[in-house]
């Protein structure tokens, strides 16, 4: 894609989610709305992707995941002064006490699309004026 790095900075979203279909659907809709999306299937992969990519404008984070769960992922971000600045929104079906993450905005599954896009638009600016796939 022919975007400049400058544009990517504004509309780059990291989705950390273990369920493949939810992950792909989120990518689909966010790309349709003009954002660039990087996917990770768990917290560990998320951290790896973060170290290689331009810092995203938002991280959509699931909680219950294999290998490294959402709590551990968020904890790792806290250790890094730069990564600490990236806004996070939890996207989860977890009903219990989320403990130390309770101050982070949360989008409950099943996801309300309007709510999701509102959240995304609060932090990010689309870098593509119109959807364009493949």
């Amino acid at each position: 894609m022919g975007n400049s790095d400058e544009a990517l900075k504004k509309g780059n979203i990291l989705v950390v989610e273990d369920d493949q279909s939810i992950r792909n659907t989120l990518k689909y809709i966010l790309e349709l709305e003009g954002f660039s999306v990087v996917l990770a299937e768990n917290g560990k992969v998320g951290l790896e992707k973060l170290s290689k990519m331009t810092h995203p404008c938002l991280i959509l984070l699931d909680l219950m995941m294999p290998v490294m769960n959402g709590w551990e992922f968020a904890n790792n971000l806290k250790k890094n002064q730069v990564l600490l600045q990236i806004p996070i929104a939890l996207v989860t079906a977890f009903d219990g006490d989320i403990g130390p993450l309770k101050n982070i905005p949360i989008i409950k599954k099943p996801i309300d699309l309007d709510l999701l896009l509102k959240m995304v638009n609060k932090y990010c600016v689309p870098n593509l004026p119109s959807p364009d796939h493949e």
Binding site: D18, D19, Q20, S21, I22, N24, T25, L26, Y28, I29, L32, E41, L63, M64, M65, P66, V67, N69, W71, A93, F94, D95, G96, K109, P110, I111, D112, L113, P131, H133
Partner: protein, 526 residues
């Protein structure tokens, strides 16, 4: 010998010596048989805690204790041998029951313990003990035979009170610190128990020539203990009442004072036996029920989460369609059809989850019926693997096949489910390392092995994973309804086969399925 083993043997020896001395304190017959023989229960518990290797402690403790009690060497030797065997034999036998849980938190394990560590151990102990006196001290056989029941009940009570008590108190993790109100309830319970014991066993005046009816009161306390505090409560109350009963009887007061000493002891033993079996069974049922309720609650939470996942994707996809339908044009139609395809997959996943839930209730009510036909196992495995292509790609696990040509007379759909569940598990827990799927024929059975090199399963969990709603891993890290292996196990059992797991924590797991081929020709041979 390493240090740990040394201290374990030392503990068993000292415990045996002290408890043997204690046992003789209650003894009233020249045989040395006591209404309760606590050393049996102690040794049983030590075997479960340390393993069979601590047996030399029995010899080091009991043999000198018997010599000091003026027993002839041969008698001491035979009794010591009996003491080793009465724990070792039942211990080895009970290990063969995969479902025996040494914390005795379910009724089945409690009854296994009763049959093997209680009855069988007491038969061995009493037979060795009584016959030693008959063989070496010139005791008449009639006297030896008459002493056998008391010895038997003494061993049985030792096992069922001290043994069960140690296992349930020290074989599990310590309970969380109770809250204020719980502490008050507990203190109240203890005070009432002690107060009533004093009345029942020491104070009550003789009304109708016997104190026995007052003993009924003990059961209210026992039931309170078992219902509120499970095995720990029940075993503590049994121990408390038994101690008071024995003490009072030795002082020649309380309910067990008749004209004849042996009648006293018989009624005392009867009372203690009834008490500990009633309390132990009730507590086991109460604990089992509590566990089922809490695992059912967990299950509802997990099932809701699992059902919500495909629903989330599905709902999101429909919202996208709804939102974008007005501006849809030809260039987008391809991606919309992809979206619809994904939605269909979601629905399939959703209905297979619902199907799983139904399978559980079918298995529970014995309504799993098989539609058997000739099945080529190799083709079937490849078909199943094809269905998991996207999961395989995602897991980065390489699949290695080592398949012998096998044809069986099985339910094809169910077998696909069995293989699919095992492959899905291997992919989920396989951490990207190779997975080996192999099959072979041995005798009249097919063996299918699915082996990963992933996180593995701890020994303790290896029995648990085949039960309903059980998962060996934390809910926070792995999704899954906890039904996969339970259903797999039930389906294999319906085919007359078995499944077992070989695994070490961190070093992968191999699930080995044994299925009888059940070819109709083969059946005619028998």
């Amino acid at each position: 010998m390493n240090k740990t083993l040394f201290f374990q043997i030392l503990l068993v020896a000292v415990g045996n010596f002290v408890l043997a001395k204690l046992g003789w304190m209650f003894a009233t017959t020249p045989l040395g048989a006591s209404p309760i023989w606590p050393a049996v229960g102690f040794v049983h518990a030590m075997f479960f805690f340390f393993g069979i290797r601590c047996w030399p402690g029995i010899v080091l403790g009991l043999f000198p204790a018997m010599l000091l009690n003026h027993a002839p060497i041969v008698v001491a030797f035979q009794n010591t041998l009996g003491a080793v065997l009465r724990t070792a034999i039942p211990y080895l036998l009970i290990q063969r029951f995969g479902s025996f849980d040494k914390t005795l938190c379910e009724s089945r394990s409690y009854y296994y313990y009763f049959i093997f560590m209680g009855l069988l151990a007491a038969v061995i102990g009493a037979t060795f003990g009584v016959s030693s006196f008959w063989m070496w001290t010139g005791m008449p056989i009639s006297q030896a035979v008459a002493a056998w029941p008391q010895w038997f009940i003494g061993d049985l009570l030792g096992s069922m009170t001290i043994g069960v008590g140690l296992l349930v108190w020290f074989g599990r993790g310590m309970p969380p610190r109770p809250k204020m109100i719980e502490t008050i309830k507990l203190l109240l319970f203890i005070s009432i128990s002690i107060f009533l014991s004093k009345i029942i066993f020491y104070d009550i005046t003789d009304i109708a020539g016997t104190h026995l009816p007052h003993l009924y009161i003990t059961f209210t306390i026992l039931i309170w203990a078992a219902v509120s505090y499970g095995q720990r409560g029940s075993s503590a109350i049994v121990l408390l009442f038994s101690s008071f009963a024995i003490h009072a009887t030795m002082l020649n007061i309380g309910p067990f004072t008749f004209s004849n000493r042996s009648v006293d002891l018989f009624f005392l033993q009867l009372f203690m036996g009834t008490l500990c079996l009633t309390g132990g069974s009730l507590a086991a049922f109460v604990e089992e029920r509590n566990r089922l309720i809490s695992s059912r609650d967990d299950f509802i939470a997990i099932a809701a989460h699992e059902l919500r996942t495909p629903l989330t994707a599905l709902q999101l996809q429909l919202q996208i369609l709804h939102r974008n339908l007005p501006k849809m044009d030809l260039t987008q139609s391809q991606s919309f059809s992809r979206l619809l395809q994904i939605s269909q997959d979601q629905l399939m996943q959703f209905s297979s989850l619902v199907e799983d839930l139904l399978d559980v209730s079918r298995a529970k009510s014995g309504k799993l019926t098989l539609k058997r036909s000739y099945v080529n196992l190799t083709d079937l495995i490849h078909n199943v693997v094809n269905k998991y292509q996207s999961e395989i790609a995602e897991s980065k696990c390489e699949l290695i096949f080592n398949l012998a040509p096998v044809t069986g007379f099985w339910d094809e759909i169910r077998l696909q489910q069995i293989i699919g569940n095992l492959i899905a598990n291997a992919l989920k827990f396989g951490v990207g390392k190779p997975i080996e799927i192999s099959s072979r024929i041995e005798g009249a059975s097919a063996f299918i092995t699915i082996k990963d090199q992933g996180i593995g399963i701890a020994k303790f969990d290896q029995v648990r994973v085949f039960k309903r709603f059980e998962r060996a891993v934390s809910v926070k890290n792995f999704s899954g309804i906890g039904l996969g292996l339970y259903i797999t196990n039930q389906l294999i059992a319906a085919h007359g086969g078995t499944i077992r797991v070989e695994s070490h924590l961190g070093r992968g797991a191999a699930f080995i399925v044994k299925l009888p081929l059940d070819l109709p020709e083969a059946n005619n041979n028998g």
